[in-house]
């Protein structure tokens, strides 16, 4: 159990964390979300007693970190994958930490096996990739087999297999009754991993609720309505009628309509009234990503803008649909050429539209991934992760 009360951290005039009060409970994965620079890492450092709060306090199991008996056996943390001496081998790094904590040296080889670094255990960590560094950091956090675990951006730089592994690791750690506190700026990742969410923006608490409540509270469901292809007249008629009934209608890329503010039966009735056939009328729940974007919109410190490339490109004129400027039109259709004798890339499907690289257009991401089961959501997350990291 981690408990923060009125936690505040000021660096000179800048307030990094302001009056945070929250609890992280055992037996669940608690996601700690916020845009870049929102104070997540500062909060984590204060939990570990590395930074001294300007005001307020944070305790682990009722005691501040530095007063814990056997702190490394109670709390394990991954703060920064690069926080190792590059000249030291992975094994020596972990061995020194094990000795410092009074943990038997056997445990070092165990955690190396757990994170899959046993083959490079004697290599100097300077040559490690970011993903290998993350694994080494996770190994260090697991070293003491602690009941409270903190991970700061653990999936940064990991390959898809590694991301899945971390996700399962977090869940299994929590299922054993441990307190697992994971920070991330990736809502989609948290949607699959966390049970509970703590969202901060500009150092202030924005939400502290379960994932389910978070979606319910922050996202409005919408209906996808599709009129028969080619009947633009019917589509416009229906749009007008829906707007007249008080709905908000946004055209989607493939010609469907995104309708909010009206219940499904009502939409059907209106379509019937204006004599329009419907090819699709489906309920949708906005994704966690959208809910998160909506919530933190006002609290983003570092906002990317679109690369205009003024004068080099004719603006794509598609009314209603906001085409990301960085991706030229027709990019998805022009797949990579298939060389003779080469199998076509099975992943290069033109169907899904390219993801917007910037969060500047959060209101209308193309085809929001379903918030449901993990396997379907995973590929969409990866593209999102990459675009997030590229910022």
């Amino acid at each position: 159990m981690i408990e923060a009360v009125g936690l505040t951290k000021r660096y000179g005039a800048k307030t990094a964390v302001h009056n945070l009060t929250f609890q992280v409970r055992p037996g669940a994965v608690t996601g700690f979300l916020g845009p870049n620079g929102s104070g997540k890492s500062t909060t984590m450092r204060m939990i570990l007693g590395l930074d001294v709060p300007s005001a307020g306090r944070v305790t682990i199991g009722g005691q501040p970190f530095h007063k814990l008996p056997n702190a490394p056996r109670q709390v394990g943390a991954l703060l920064d994958a690069k926080a190792v001496h590059g000249g030291r081998s992975a094994r020596m790094h972990l061995l020194s930490l094990a000795q410092l904590s009074g943990i038997p040296a056997r445990r070092v080889d165990e955690v190396l096996g757990v994170v899959g670094l046993q083959d490079v255990a004697r290599k100097r960590s300077k040559g490690f990739s970011l993903g290998m560094g993350q694994r080494l950091g996770i190994a260090a956090a697991l070293l003491g087999d602690p009941q409270v675990l903190l991970f700061d951006e653990p999936v940064n730089g990991l390959d898809p297999e590694g991301i899945l592994w971390v996700r399962n690791l977090m869940r299994s750690l929590a299922a054993e009754g441990r307190t697992v506190f994971v920070s991330s700026h990736l809502m989609s990742e948290m949607a699959l991993t966390a049970d509970h969410l703590i969202v901060i923006g500009r150092g202030q608490l924005m939400a502290d609720m379960s994932v389910k409540d978070f979606i319910a509270a922050n996202s409005a469901g919408f209906a996808r309505v599709r009129t028969p292809d080619g009947e633009t007249e019917a589509r416009e008629k229906l749009t007008a009628a829906l707007v007249g009934a008080g709905a908000q209608v946004l055209p989607e890329q493939d010609g469907a309509l995104r309708v909010t503010g009206l219940a499904l039966p009502r939409i059907s009735d209106i379509a019937h009234d204006v004599d329009t056939r419907l090819w699709e009328l489906s309920p949708h729940q906005a994704s966690l990503e959208e809910a998160y974007m909506r919530m933190t919109q006002g609290a983003v410190d570092y906002r990317s803008t679109q690369d205009q490339r003024s004068g080099l490109q004719a603006p794509p004129a598609q009314p209603g649909w906001q085409q990301p400027a960085a991706v030229p039109q027709g990019w998805a259709e022009q797949a990579y050429p298939v060389l003779p004798g080469e199998q076509p890339n099975p992943y290069a499907q033109p169907a899904p539209a390219p993801q917007a690289p910037a969060p500047a257009a959060p209101a209308t991401p193309p085809t929001p991934p379903p918030t449901g089961p993990a396997p379907q959501g995973a590929p969409a997350d990866l593209t999102k992760r990459d675009s997030e990291d590229a910022r």
Partner: protein
Amino acid sequence: MTTPQQPPAPPQNAPQTPPHAAPAGPAPVAPPHPGAQPAAGHPGQAQGYWPGQAPAGGPAGYVSPIPIRRATLLDAVASEWTKIRSVRSTMWTLGIMVLLVLGIGFLAATLVAGQDGDTGNSSPLALGFFGVLLGIICVVTLGVLTISSEYGTGMIRTTLTACPDRGRVLAAKSLVFFLLTFVITLVSTGMIAMVDSTLLNGMTSYSPDADAWLRATVGVSLYVATLGLLGLAVGALLRHSAGAITVMLGVVLLPMVLSLFMMGDALSDVRKALIEYSIPMQLSAFYATEADHMTGPTGWTPLWIMLGVAAVALAGAYASMTKRDA
């Protein structure tokens, strides 16, 4: 390489390894079911938790099967010993220091022995001085790096998470560094003292007594290791390798250089003090004989001065580590 061979993480894979880890310990406790804990539940927290898992009130939601032992200063010393021997800078700095002490000491002795005639009543042990003087720079560098490299890489945050007691970390680092450099310096100064006195046997009218031997070996080694400790303290205060090394070079060299610019009579006292208390001068005091007529600190006094300075600096480093954010 990055991806291990293990299948994509069956959830039980990772955390259940511990039970195999401690066959020697008390009978491995099965991972306790948190539902069995007295649930000092908070209202409204049932949502979003795993089925059947009421969060426990205290931190004891999970109990590790690995026997828990309270870590001590000795554990920290073992850890620091692992750290200092597993980086190359240790081998490089100490290796170069040994080479300098032995090489220059031997060279000086052969040059002097090559000249015919009496070297007067200066101590043959004094020929080791030049090597040690240059070797100081290596020791100081290692002292700084011992702690500043942890700040530079961010490793210090990992260290302080594993051991929140700043005093213990600093004490272990100081102890390991001091003992290591003392032993290495003692071995090399001891060797060169024997070599020099053998080479110059019969050429001097002065034969060093036990105290002279002790000062030229143990005394010098203690002094050099303590100076390294000062470097460690400065490294902890500045947290920046290059900056701290520069400061330490200034401490060693600057008083001598400054004294060159203090000409007039008004400054003569300052100049005298700067020279007498400069580190090369104090180091030479360990080799001095009665006949050298040292005006500054003599005998073992330089060691006490350096110990005092290092103690003050280490106290400052401790205060800085406890007060400042890591």
